[in-house]
């Protein structure tokens, strides 16, 4: 799980043959969406993610329907005679219980909230900061670029798992801290790409043209250059989300993330480790949901990257033809 190896291909909007498609120009966004619609894997991933989001949103509902709380210890009803967790299907627990008698289904639903929240929010923060830092560094160059680029290099070369653990242990584990820590270690990945793009776009003639019109620096950065980097940034961000989710799960597993009694897929798994392998449901279900989520995001990210890459037009054209019989 190395952030620096997430690959991004430099992409440009696919060229459109003149005169085709009517008067309204088809924006890159519309083209991407059209292509994604033909990609079955992408659609499946989106479907899975929608389900998980619904699960997360509906967590209180699930808790109310089953009558089980995600955090309240429930040893009397929830464990067997030896204090061991109940297997799925017994006593109204659809997926079984954990070592403290809590309903695993309910906990997984609440865990989904944590994972999605951390994943999306940390990535969003990292993206905004990375884009701003990268834009300023790449566009202005000079000493500002030297400082910012060095800063990003330093952050990227930290042994970040170790450092994240250090930070979390020093300040105490809490949800906002976990989000900030993950965002901090991710922003450099985006910043580096954005900086590279800004550096190359800065030399283009349309930037010179904007200068000659009297445009100010901020306008050029955000109105002219930024649209040219939306594509690689979106791909990278989509691929950073699962990395962030994994990061959070790992931290929670080590006891340095979200703490008890809050449910997180990571700390559920660390509790499970303590119980032993007999209670397989305690392991397998959180694992499955975690893997489903990260897999779906990764597949979606790859699909978005393919959709943005003009070189794959042949594949999409083929698919479109298949859908419309002569």
């Amino acid at each position: 799980m190395s952030l620096s190896t997430v690959e991004v291909v430099s992409t440009e909007a696919p060229a459109e043959t003149p005169g085709v498609g009517g008067i309204e120009g088809r924006s890159p966004l519309r083209l991407v969406l059209a292509r994604l619609r033909t990609d079955r894997v992408a659609l499946a991933s989106i479907g899975v993610l929608v389900l998980i989001v619904l699960l997360a949103l509906g967590a209180p509902l699930i808790s109310a329907i089953t009558g089980h709380s995600p955090t309240v210890t429930n040893v009397d009803n929830g464990t067997d005679a030896n204090g061991q967790p109940l297997p799925p299907g017994t006593g109204g627990f659809l997926l079984g219980t954990d070592n403290l008698g809590r309903d695993i289904l309910v906990r997984i639903a609440y865990g989904a909230r944590i994972s999605l929240l951390v994943g999306v929010l940390a990535t969003a923060i990292a993206t905004v900061v990375g884009v701003v830092v990268g834009l300023f560094a790449g566009y202005f160059g000079g000493w500002l670029d030297s400082i910012l680029a060095r800063l990003m290099d330093v952050v990227l070369s930290f042994p970040y798992v170790l450092f994240a653990i250090v930070l979390v242990s020093v300040f105490g584990a809490s949800l906002p801290l976990v989000i900030l820590v993950i965002a901090f270690f991710s922003f450099a990945a985006i910043g580096r790409i954005v900086r590279g793009q800004a550096l190359s776009q800065r030399e283009k003639e349309y930037v010179e043209a904007a200068h000659s019109l009297g445009a100010g620096n901020l306008r050029i950065m955000f109105v002219d250059i930024l649209p040219n980097l939306v594509a690689p940034v979106i791909v990278l961000a989509t691929l950073l989300i699962p990395a962030a989710i994994i990061f959070e799960a790992t931290l929670s597993f080590l006891g340095l993330g979200v703490g008890p009694p809050t449910a997180s897929w990571g700390n559920m798994l660390s509790d499970a480790e303590g119980v032993g392998f007999q209670a397989w449901w305690f392991y397998i279900f959180p694992m499955l949901f975690l893997l489903a989520t990260t897999l779906a995001f990764n597949l979606l990210g790859d699909a978005v990257r393919d959709a943005l890459d003009p070189r794959t037009e042949r594949i999409f054209a083929g698919r479109r033809k298949k859908k419309k019989p002569a």
């Binding site: 440009e12 909007a13 060229a15 459109e16 043959t17 003149p18 005169g19 008067i23 309204e24 120009g25 924006s27 890159p28 283009k204 003639e205 349309y206 010179e208 043209a209 904007a210 200068h211 000659s212 019109l213 009297g214 445009a215 100010g216 306008r219 002219d224 649209p227 040219n228 939306v230």
Partner: protein, 366 residues
């Protein structure tokens, strides 16, 4: 509809719209491990003075690397000037900062060479042309759109293509977009940096005709930069020739093409395309020896002396100044110690390899 754009302030500063005096632009070359220090400089423009009269088209020609594009950008104040004075419409623009320059940008605009690179491929055409209106707060919303569509029509584009992307247009159409963008602020001066060099020949003619029509309609003054001499001859009133960062000759177009005084101008003209094959065969080709010297280390004295067929001792020590020769009109200036007289043949002035080989072959036993 086009009158809605407020016309720029009435003329000040007299007959000359633009006056450049002693423009110098040096680019520093830096080296160093951590902190770079300057070790030399590229002397792209090294003391250029010229004037552009209102309403005229001044052509600027020269080889690649002579500094004409840099000069254009100096005039547009896209760089700070290393030295020199720049007066536009009576106002001194020499040392203004970027924000101070902004209001003056409405008076001068630029058309770029590359129809593909000079437009932001991620923005719609309407947004590109309307950009100057947005930057200078001239109009908003529907009013701006109407203005932009007006300009599109003027340059020969279909105003319904307002929402298209540049990729959906051909090269010639993209250049028209560039022209519309330059026009949007109703400037007085338009600097055209090789506007047709990247286009097919048939399209070149269309764009040139468009520029000429617009000049009449909008009262524009052009600084037209190119390396194609025939095109420059067609559009210009006066022409200036540049070599290695300096102007070597400037004259009315018929004087320059009829009686060029500077040896370099003669060489350029002798290499340009002539339609009549008989004439082409019979004329003398002046072939210059050597390569264009590096602008980092330009030759001493007259910069052209290393390649000049007429060079003599004084040429390597004393730099000639632009002055009009005896018998020429006052507007015909050349920077040469030994200007080419009428009818003078300089092709045989200095032996070149070609001549040596021809001579050798002529003497060989048949």
């Amino acid at each position: 509809m086009l009158d809605v754009v407020p016309s720029p302030a009435p003329a000040a500063g007299g007959e000359h719209l633009l006056r450049a005096e002693g423009i110098v632009k040096h680019f520093p070359i830096k080296e160093g491990i951590f902190f770079k220090h300057q070790v030399g400089s590229v002397k792209a423009v090294d003391g250029v003075s010229l004037e552009v009269r209102r309403g005229e088209t001044l052509g600027l020609v020269g080889e690649t690397g002579c500094g004409k594009s840099t000069l254009a950008r100096c005039i547009m104040r896209l760089f700070p000037l290393t030295a020199g004075h720049l007066t536009f419409d009576g106002a001194d623009l020499s040392t203004l900062s970027r924000s101070q320059m902004r209001p003056y940008r409405r008076g001068m605009q630029m058309i770029f060479q590359d129809p593909y690179g000079s437009l932001n491929s991620r923005r719609r055409v309407g947004s590109i042309i309307g950009d100057p209106l947005a930057i200078h707060n001239i109009a908003k919303g529907a009013e701006r759109k109407k203005m932009v569509q007006g300009f599109m029509e003027v340059v020969g584009l279909n105003p319904e293509h307002y929402n298209r992307f540049p990729a959906e247009f051909s090269g010639g159409q993209r250049q028209r977009i560039g022209v519309a963008r330059a026009l949007a602020l109703r400037p007085k001066l338009i600097v055209c940096d090789e506007p047709v060099s990247a286009l097919d020949v048939s399209i070149q003619a269309q764009i040139i005709n468009l520029l000429e029509d617009l000049q009449g309609e909008f009262g524009l003054t052009y600084l037209f930069i190119a390396h194609n001499l025939s095109v420059v001859q067609h559009v210009s009133d006066r022409v200036a020739v540049m070599y290695l960062g300096k102007i070597v000759e400037v004259a009315e177009v018929k004087d320059l093409y009829g009686t060029p005084r500077h040896p370099y101008t003669n060489a350029l003209l002798s290499a340009s395309v002539v339609a009549d094959p008989d004439k082409a065969r019979s004329r003398d080709r002046i072939i210059l020896t050597g390569d264009v010297p590096s602008p980092i280390n330009p030759p001493s004295g007259c910069r052209f002396h290393t390649r000049c067929p007429k060079a003599q001792a004084i040429c390597s020590t004393e730099e000639p100044i632009l002055k009009s020769g005896a018998g020429d009109s006052a507007s015909h200036l050349a920077a040469c110690h030994f200007p080419v007289a009428d009818g003078e043949k300089i092709a045989s002035g200095k032996a070149t390899i070609l001549h040596a080989v021809e001579g050798f072959l002529a003497e060989a036993p048949k």
